[in-house]
Amino acid sequence: MNIYLAKRLFALIPVLFVVSLVIFLIIHITPGDPATVMLGESATAQDIEALREQLGLNLPLYQQYTEWLMKVFRGDLGESYFMKETVLQSILSHLSPTISLAILAQIVALAIAIPIGIKAAIRRGTATDQTIMGFSLLGMAVPSFLLALFLILLVGVKLQWLPVAGYKPLEMGLWTHLKYLILPSLSLGAIQAALITRMTRSSMLEVLNTNYIKTARAKGVKERGVIYKHALRIAFLPILTVIGQTFGGLITGAVVTESIFNIPGIGQLIINSVERRDYAVIQGVVLFVTTAYVVINLIVDVLYGMIDPRVRLERK
């Protein structure tokens, strides 16, 4: 197990290297740089050139890249050009809104998807099944921003129950914190739920047809036990993969949702940094996001082994 983990983590290094190189080249080839943005609307070419020099942006690309890389090896992601903080501080300060949102959205998604997915599987072919599948198809087709705008209009502007924009940290109280996240997590979670529902249904159907479920039924296990104890455990594997992927997507930034609800999360950070050509932050965030994605996938793989002994990995 440990060797397996070490291998997986080691394999991360070339991935990160390639990703960092590609992203470095893309953002540096794109016209415009931090100096043009920092100096404001009516800066002259001379002023921009002077600031470029001061910031070291006029050095050859390979030199800028190797300098950045050396720093990263020392654990230093550098300093934001635009903001008065280090890249690490930026990432950390933008991370908590995203994590809060991701967890809430995931809770919403699972609370909707698992029960109705199972229900659809049990009532296969009935009207219930078809209704559920119809809604999930709709959910997959509707983009999350549409649902977001609808929620803003109804709950925020018309009923004025919940705030429509912004973010308050947990320190300001649980309700204040949640209040700002309910609409965004509903709009994100409901869409995620659609995918997980379908996965749950098809996975359950497959399992319900297997021999050992028949055996369980034959030996008199109650239907409830059959579903939740025997079937769900195995059916959960592919569901877990989907959860891992969607959660990975949520952590790496629900870009549109964060933008609509003005949540200062990782997605917003990426958009803002691209608009400001804040090279240091873009590179840092991409590295972070790649790592997060790979690690989440790794966790999912490990969980596989814990849930299903058949998948358990070789060990001494």
Partner: protein, 534 residues
Amino acid sequence: MKSPSLAKKLCLLLLAFSLAGCGAQTAQNEGAKTETKTEAKPAADAKAGGELKVAYQAQPQTLDPHVTTSQASATIGRNVFETLVTVDSRYQIKPMLADSWEQSEDGKTITFRLRKGVRFHNGKELTADDVVASMNRWITTASAGKDHFKDARFEAKDAHTAVLHLQQPTATAMPVLAYLGGNYPAIMPKEIIETADPKGVKDYVGTGPFQFKEWKQDQYIHLAKHPDYAPREEAADGLAGKREALVDDLYFQFTPDASTQVAGLLSGEYDVAADVSYDNVERLETDSNIKIEVAPTGMLTLYFNKKKGLFTNAKARQAIGAGIDAESILIGAYTNEKYYKLNHSMMMYYQLGQWSSDAGKELYNQNNPEKAKQMLAEAGYKGDEIKIVTSRDYEDMYNGAVAFQQQLEKMGVKTKLEVYDWPTFTELRNDENKFDILVITNTPKPEPSSLAFMRKDFPGWTDSPELDKLLASFRGAANLEQAKAVYDELQKWFYEYVPVVKIGDGNSVSATQISVKNMTWLDGLIFWNVSNQK
């Protein structure tokens, strides 16, 4: 990425059927203190206390105006920092940190007498040393400083007198020093100036009615009332006179998405939406809880590439001026006549009291495509593709460019419109191979010689010996009144050489809750003397 067009449409739809439901505002009222009210006229119906939450589109890089020309930085920062002099609503120069000033007869020295008893937010009293440190840094780092005050120096004469030594008489000195838009000459403590780096000062300490509290990156800037602020005694007028923080806390909440601003305003989350998209205004106007404010923003302008291509020829530039129908481009850019003004002057319509000339008026907004066609032929146009470049980050620029492109086609010109995000645009515009015409909203300036197209180094690259002569006599006049005599000739030059074609003046729209009282505008929104009692 965002899909603005679809999102915009949806938002319109949503706003349309939300009109009915914008009922009670439920925002809580934080500490409604009734403070001793002063006799200031504009604040007559204003109570002090509470907070003001402003939804603002762009987060600036720094509040230090010496290192950035950003308007966002100025609008937020000038609540914290003050300048030696400022302007009233008619653009007359008025005292602020300097009580008085006098220019020597040869025009080469200006002596500023500072107000006594002015305190920085760190408690230190303002002295001439702070002024000298701040102004000399501004002269060497800010574009406006370098442009007008080359080799000029400030010196302290005594604790409360600072003297500006100029190499030559500079008629533009006072209006430039009084300008409070991007790159304004803020006064900060000497110690702060000394520790600044190229990205700006490390602490924001000024003398203004608000003091800097907190900057949560990408979320908000929090300013708070400066309790020891000693306002000037003259009545408030424009940026001049009495300034008073009537709210205890002032928040600039960064909301890059325009529809989020509007939704946040309608739901009571924000008190002010600083940049409302023109599409949203009509819906907001019908809401009885919302007030709309219209304020001038800039001049929609066509910048010609005078280094390369067709428009190196003045005749071709004049042809475009002859051919366009300014009004329909302005309708395209600003949607409604409330939000633009036809104006042939080089300066904005609200500056006409000071800068007015009818020179070239007949050459403005001619709307004569046939004449244009003929002039273009005379200029040697052979049907090559003309490249128009603009940015979609500002809706008036982009929409104006689209309307302009159609008109060029009418003049028989083959065109190609390229649209970029702002950083790309600012990079490309410095390359003479990348465009023929730029569509830009020109920033208003305190006096004509500061306008961007007068500069040799600004994209478009105006290079006219005649202008050099005019500028020398304009700027070299002993004072502003004498310089004004040259303005007619400058504007004549503007219509002959045609460095750019001005289409017209644009307004921006902001919206507030009705509880927000006395919000005014001068080169950006003004947040002192503004109350908010919910």
